[in-house]
Symmetry: C2
Subunit: 198 residues, 2 copies
C-alpha cells in the first residue's frame, strides 16, 4: 500500500504484540513526521538490548550482568524464595515493596496445549537452589489461572519431599473493585480464604 521502506516499517511494527495494522501505521507516521522523535536512539537501543541483556544465572530474572541486582543485594533475605512465571512478575511484586526475599523465574507455566511441561521450565534449577538448606519458605506466585494453578500444584508436590514451608499467594477480591463485578470463581475463593477480623 505504501512505497518500500515505509511499508517495511509498518510490517515490522505490526509484528510486535498488541500492535495491529492501524496502530503500526500511526506509529510509522509518527516516526516519519515527528522531528523530535529520536529514531537513532530507538534503533541503537534495539541493537544493543538483545546483546547486552541476559538472564540471571541464579534466578532467571533479566539482568545486564551474570546475576541480577536482586540476587546481588545482600539486604535481601536468602531464606525466602518467591517463584514466578515471568521476569515481569518480579517487577510487579517489587512495586508492592512487600517482599524482601529472592525470586525464582520459571520462564512460563505448565501448559499441555502449548506443549510446555515441567522440563521446559526452570524447576530443576529451583530444586538445586533449595538443596543446601538455606531456604525456609517457597512462596508460589504463579498466575491465578489454569496454567498457573497447574504449575503451583506440580511445584507444591515436588516440594513436599523437602523440609521447606510452601505457600501460595491468596486469591480473593481485588482491592478497590466492586464485589458485584467479581467473577464466581474469584468470589468463591474469597469465601474459602475468609479470615477472622476484629
Amino acid at each position: 500500500m505504501y512505497e518500500g521502506i515505509v511499508q517495511d516499517l509498518i510490517d515490522e511494527l505490526g509484528r510486535l504484540p498488541g500492535i495491529g495494522p492501524k496502530s503500526a501505521q500511526r506509529i510509522a507516521f509518527h516516526i516519519l513526521q515527528t522531528e523530535s522523535f529520536d529514531v537513532a536512539r530507538l534503533a541503537e537501543i534495539l541493537t544493543t538490548v538483545r546483546e547486552r541483556v541476559r538472564f540471571c544465572s541464579i534466578c532467571g530474572n533479566i539482568s545486564e550482568q551474570e546475576t541480577c541486582s536482586i540476587c546481588r543485594d545482600p539486604r535481601r533475605d536468602p531464606a525466602l524464595i518467591c517463584v514466578v512465571e515471568e521476569a515481569k512478575d518480579v517487577v510487579a511484586i517489587e512495586r508492592t515493596r512487600e517482599f524482601r526475599g529472592l525470586y525464582h523465574v520459571l520462564g512460563g507455566a505448565i501448559s499441555p496445549i502449548d506443549g510446555i511441561g515441567p522440563d521446559q521450565l526452570r524447576i530443576r534449577q529451583l530444586m538445586q537452589r533449595l538443596a543446601d538448606g538455606t531456604v525456609q519458605e517457597v512462596i508460589i506466585a504463579t498466575d491465578p489461572n489454569l496454567e498457573g494453578e497447574a504449575t503451583a500444584t506440580y511445584l507444591s508436590r515436588m516440594l513436599t519431599t523437602l523440609e521447606i514451608r510452601v505457600t501460595r499467594l491468596a486469591s480473593g477480591l481485588p482491592v478497590g473493585g466492586d464485589l458485584e463485578y467479581a467473577d464466581e470463581v474469584t468470589l468463591g475463593r474469597a469465601f474459602e480464604g475468609r479470615r477472622v477480623v476484629g
Copy 2:
C-alpha cells in the same frame, strides 16, 4: 524499575503514540524473549526510514523519490486534485479505488488552538498548482471534524476566485471522526456523493 537498557527500551517505546507503559513493557519483553523476532531488521529500518523517506515536491505525499508514485503515474487524471490533511489519508482513499486524479497533502488542518493557521499548511503550493489552468476540479477531503471543516471552508473561499469546480466529500462519513479510520465503502460513497461548495 528495570535495570539500565531494558528500562531505556521501555521508555523509548512508551514515547510512541498509543503505547502506554504496560504495552511498552509487553513489547520490550517480546523483543527480549522472542528469538524469532528480527531486532536487527527493525533497527535497520528505523535508521534508514527517515533518511530515505521525503515528501513529494509536487503534492507533499510521502515518497522515496523527488516526486511520489501517484504524481509520476501518467494514467492519473491531472484535471482532478483531491486535497487531504495527511499522507495517510492518501492511502485510505487509494484503498477505495474510486479516485483516479492527483492529490494535494496540506500537512494538517487549520486549528487556532494548536497555533496552526493557513500559512502553516501547503495552501500556497496548492494555489501554484492551480495557476496553469490544467485542474478543473478540486475535491476537498479534509477530516469531517471541526478543524477539517474550518480548513474546507477556508479553501473553498480561496478557490471561488478561480474558474475551478470545488467539491467537498459527502456527509456519510461519521461526523467527529478521522478520515483515516473510515471503512472503504463509506469512503467510496462519500466520493460518489460529493457536492459543490461555495
